[in-house]
Symmetry: C2
Subunit: 408 residues, 2 copies
């Protein structure tokens, strides 16, 4: 009978030193001894990535991206070799592979390459020989065999893509938290770990500021329906399953509360209300290199309207310059900005079929005298822009209002 295949991914904090590597090796060996075929994807150790980047920046302010990939990929190569040694030391046969050796073929875009294809031949062969396979995360090669890296969260992506390519039964993402919580447990002591969450919810959580996984990997997992198990490297507890559809009779209405303090708001007043104006504005902002997040434009009965949007705080000044330039060109009114704002959001698949969620959210905020400056909604989330100083209170209030501490 063919063994079940498990893909495990261990992040940088899980392999930061010798002791942690040995701990992870024990986990890998345990899965192998339970009868699983195991492919473990590892990130670079702790601060290695920063140290390597520092070396490059000491040499030149703008290192060529091809050479950055050549440099940065060594971090994962080091940890996969060390992990193979640690697993071997436990009496199992283990073999490490680089992205090149595994046949992770990417496009040409250095430092943020996309995976085009995986030729898992060597992995299948090694698994067939009973070996534990350790793969360097975050990296691949382009058609020229030049090393590419996959950008932030790249090791998650390696794991998910391998799980898909190898038809793994499960993909475990090991990290330094116990799973996905209803909100940040460092801030709200009533925060509860979720047993399950849908891909859609997780995507909202990820893009709204929960730091556990990058949105990109979750999107790939959703597209190919690869169940993810997010759990801690340092505990035996089950973590959170990220799945297409939860097993509950009805989706939980609200699964989590997130916040993001890294945003700033820009408002352009008295924008002429005619077709194509919004396109002009956001083309200008985009070409200034700023990532717009929330955009709010109210319907207006005047000939002009106000348009507000948020950008990451570090991009405020360039976005503001672009906004002022375009405002002049389209003969809009004045441009204001505000760095003292933050976003608070509720996320839940159940919102699709439940009424009154928004009202309940706004009421909870009002009860705590929290003024809402902007509102934006998606199918499974509602976000409010509020004053940054009130954001912790807002998270607390919403967590309580939706009784998330009772989530099972």
């Amino acid at each position: 009978m063919k063994s079940k295949l498990i893909v495990q991914k261990f992040g940088g904090s899980s392999v930061a030193n010798t002791e942690k590597i040995k701990n992870v090796a024990n986990r890998i060996a345990a899965a192998k001894r339970l009868g699983y075929d195991v492919v473990a994807v590892v990130s670079a150790q702790g601060d290695t990535t920063d140290e390597l980047e520092q070396k490059a920046l000491e040499i030149t302010a703008k290192p060529p991206e091809r050479e950055m990939d050549m440099l940065m990929s060594t971090g994962e190569q080091i940890s996969c070799a060390l992990m193979a040694m640690a697993v071997s030391h436990l009496g199992l046969e283990a073999i490490s592979f680089t992205g090149q050796q595994v046949g992770i073929l990417t496009d040409e875009i250095h430092t943020k390459a996309k995976i085009k294809k995986i030729n898992g031949q060597r992995i299948r062969k090694a698994l067939g020989q009973g070996k534990v396979v350790i793969v360097a995360g975050f990296q691949g090669v382009n058609a020229d065999q030049d090393i590419t890296t996959l950008g932030r969260g790249g090791s998650d992506l390696t794991a998910v893509a391998l799980a898909y390519s190898l038809k793994a039964d499960v993909c475990e993402i090991y990290t330094d938290v116990e799973g996905i919580y209803t909100t940040d447990p460092r801030k709200v002591k009533e925060a509860k770990k979720l047993r399950e969450i849908t891909f859609d919810e997780m995507l909202e959580m990820a893009s709204l500021g929960a730091q556990v996984m990058q949105a990109r990997s979750i999107e790939v997992a959703r597209r190919y329906n690869i169940p993810l198990h997010v759990r801690s490297s340092f505990s035996k507890e089950e973590g959170t399953m990220i799945v297409k559809k939860t097993n509950k009779l009805e989706d939980i209405v609200v699964s989590g509360v997130t916040c993001n303090k890294n945003e700033a708001k820009i408002t352009i007043r008295s924008v002429p209300d005619k077709p194509g104006v919004a396109a002009l504005i956001f083309t200008e902002i985009a070409s200034a290199g700023a990532n717009v997040d929330v955009i709010v434009q109210n319907v207006s009965e005047q000939k002009t309207t106000d348009i507000s949007f948020t950008v990451p705080k570090p991009e405020l000044s360039k976005a503001l310059a672009a906004a002022e330039k375009i405002a002049g060109e389209i003969k809009a009114g004045e441009v204001n900005s505000d760095k003292t704002i933050a976003r608070v959001s509720i996320v839940g698949s159940g919102m699709r079929s439940h009424q009154g969620i928004a009202a309940k959210m706004f009421k909870a905020l009002a009860a705590h005298k929290i003024n809402i400056e902007m509102i934006t909604t998606s199918e499974i989330s509602i976000s409010c822009i509020i004053k940054e100083v009130q954001v912790d209170a807002a998270v607390q209030a919403l967590h309580a209002a939706f009784e998330l501490e009772k989530i099972q």
Copy 2:
């Protein structure tokens, strides 16, 4: 007209930090701007190799050799990426390659692989595009595309093999000394830098303890007649050319004096003097894992003879155990050992055609009351085993006796 091609190799001390990398990049750029095509081979930075080895040994006392190669090869990958950045920063186009990307195909012997073939296609293409090529030294891949390393001095070997494969006009070995000296200039202030030395002489020097280059790379350079220029990364001075035949009308009789304090002597007394006994003894020593260096056996008129040999000091105890075992089996006499010995040698191609060199050596030692315990000769060297405490005086005496301070 085709540009002249220069292969330059920079050792670990030449690229140990950012400042030194920039210094080397300037040298590479200078050669390129003089009109050369440049291929630069780099070693791992300073202590990187030791640090990586330490990481492995913290995990397991006996790391699998395939995984050691996976680990250790990152050191050179890091420095070649950084060097490509530093050269780019000077306004030249530069590209780094791993051993795999260059097509350095080796045998299967991890940690001390031999190069079988170099497919220099990518290098030629990059040179054709006007790029400076930076190659990670010390590494290749086997037929399975597993990373292999070439053992000690492996980066020298990469450089020499590339110089051969690419038909380079010259191969420069940059190091932290100014060239090859008549003897160690830290010990003898009259030591002179040699302008030229033959491969044969250099091989004797290398195996006799001069640390500049490993014998293996010199052998390859000799076999394919690739002139080497050993010089300092930190000075503009010409170094020493290692060539097949020096340009002098007559070879210099003695080119250098070397010594080796890392040896210990074992003597087996009253060995039955019949065919096959020496083979029995040295098979036993070899299978104990000790490297025998000098062997001396005198003709005897008795039915027994004494056999003496030297081994590296760290291998004395296992060699001694093996010697005692075999001495018992062949019914030889007692076995003695002595750790307080050293070797002093003179080297020179001119010995081939000159008489009286040995006599002059022994006389110089005698004049300084230095007793000779063992003597061994090759075509171009004479070595004496003496007391270790007298070795510095012996080097001084021989350097003066052969007037090496007058060498041009």
